[in-house]
Symmetry: C2
Subunit: 381 residues, 2 copies
Amino acid sequence: MTPFSYHNPTRIEFGPGKENNIGQWLKDDGIENVLLVYGTGSIKNNGLYTRVIESLNLSNIKYDELSGVISNPVLSKVYEGIELARSTNTKAILAVGGGSVIDTAKAIAAGVKSEGDVWEYYLGKSPIQSALPVYTIVTLAAAASEMNGNSVITNEATRQKYSIGSVLLNPRLSIVNPELMQSVSKEYLIYSASDIIAHALETYLTATDHPHFQSRLVESIVKSVIELTDRLIEHPEDYHARAEFAWVSSQALNGLTTSGTGAGNWPNHMIEHALSALFNIPHGAGLSIVVPAWMSWYQSKNKEQFERFAKEVFGKQSAEEGITMLKRWYGTIGTPITLAQAHIPKERIPDIARNAHALAVVWGMGEIYSVQDIEAILEKA
Amino acid sequence: MTPFSYHNPTRIEFGPGKENNIGQWLKDDGIENVLLVYGTGSIKNNGLYTRVIESLNLSNIKYDELSGVISNPVLSKVYEGIELARSTNTKAILAVGGGSVIDTAKAIAAGVKSEGDVWEYYLGKSPIQSALPVYTIVTLAAAASEMNGNSVITNEATRQKYSIGSVLLNPRLSIVNPELMQSVSKEYLIYSASDIIAHALETYLTATDHPHFQSRLVESIVKSVIELTDRLIEHPEDYHARAEFAWVSSQALNGLTTSGTGAGNWPNHMIEHALSALFNIPHGAGLSIVVPAWMSWYQSKNKEQFERFAKEVFGKQSAEEGITMLKRWYGTIGTPITLAQAHIPKERIPDIARNAHALAVVWGMGEIYSVQDIEAILEKA
């Protein structure tokens, strides 16, 4: 095993109704007021907003609101949040929503404490030194943002979808109530499945070290996601499957699977960020397009692990068969596997590759993936 | 999945030479002085003690010492440590050793902050409210004490081997350098293997809920421990295997495997604590005696999960075959599987059962396991 640091201080409170305690838990931590961050209003339609406000009121937690966070969340909303949080002297950020809302909350938490422009962090120019505590109530299982210190934000002006990661941004407390996820559409379920599988596979397939136990962890995640997604397509109301899906989702990107592996790198996310920065497609949809193409392009570089994947996850012998099975499964559940299915014209491949390569440079992969490599991968999609 | 809380704030620094940073890391946390707790001197023979002291000196961390912690650590040593820590106004406890040393350090950390007798916590009379921070440098992988909030202490006066658990006792930082474990004897390797497997299996087999992913986690742990132990018996110097063994050991009892399972209960540990309280045998040796006997006695109560265990871990069809395979493997590696092998006379079974039942009451299992049940289990050993 390669030397590593592992530190995940996030407390998870998991189960029905746990969100009703948020006020008390904030109070226990000495928090007097929060900035409540949410999306485009679904939490008002399903009653969650009311329950959260009631819980805050009951514990005398004051709050201000920042609503309107969208998928592929944008930097302008982060700036708005920072300004609001500063003006109200907020003590913590409370995110109620999915990965986009939580990522926005983290960006605000870091930005409030930063003297410079928060975007500098995303450009990799300096590490985060301090952040407000973040609390979350999760409504979509995919990003694992509720259990890690990552945040991905799109700068609309520059079409850069970039990320930061710091243990200072790990939520102090995340509430996961699977009942809140029972109304997630089939569309978002399958994109989530694609996202979780990509989180698990990227480093599994690119790591420099492959401890068996770490490989088993990843294979367990992928097998469970496949089974649970199939189950939830048939039975969206199945609480048990929703719950396990949510938990597995958190495990796929909380630092556990990469420990001791040398951590690998993130070519699929790198390329996908370009796709959704330029075409605003759902992250999971972009990943199911990129992942099989990249796997096919990359397999010979880590043949043994690709064969292991084929065998352990699908009971197949060759690397090629493993990739085919995964791609076929993506097709079965209905998430796109070609650029054409996402209405992205082939002619735009050079633009996508250039955008992706700029991110590769920021992520320290600029030497590993040339613009031509990225084009070659995209040609396969 | 059953509702649960998961919170493991322990930071792990894993890899060769990491212990040389302990002084700096304590300083980063604002710690000025520590109570250094260790065992019977092996850290002085192998140079670890010197390296730790040098690191503390380099960062101007003052220290006092408590040495002489033994296996099945005792309450009198805890009292000695509490007195010493109070007299020196220590700011943190630094444990350098295996599970016994870490468990002693945690007991001192809780005791220093307690107005009453620290043993009251172990008797379950009141929950811990506060504790000094604990730092660890681990030299034996088995107990997972480096990554959980548990502490097991034996009260020599009353022959009670009892335990506490609180997130307040999770080490703030644990340093795991697998090189330090390369000199662990075969004897302690196999007892450690038995301990880790018991940690993973107890709740897997007694839980009220069995999410597939959680079951896969446990099966991955057991399969890896078996493979790695076999490897290390042949090649004790294999760094990679030592490293993975250490990491898997931490995963087996850090709150991960039990999340969402309803958590089950701990009959094997309950009975083993009585064995080592009365006969002072190594914990892992006691567990390899109790576990197969208990499995055989209990299997019909959770047939499906026992069958799953047999199939997933050993590729066998029946619950009985799974138990036989595990017992046979214990025999192969050389850890005892009968009371006779540990020189415990059959005539003492009633004494053991009474001692174990007293602990069952403290652990809330007094109604589930009668003295007669425990005798029946022990008869099978």
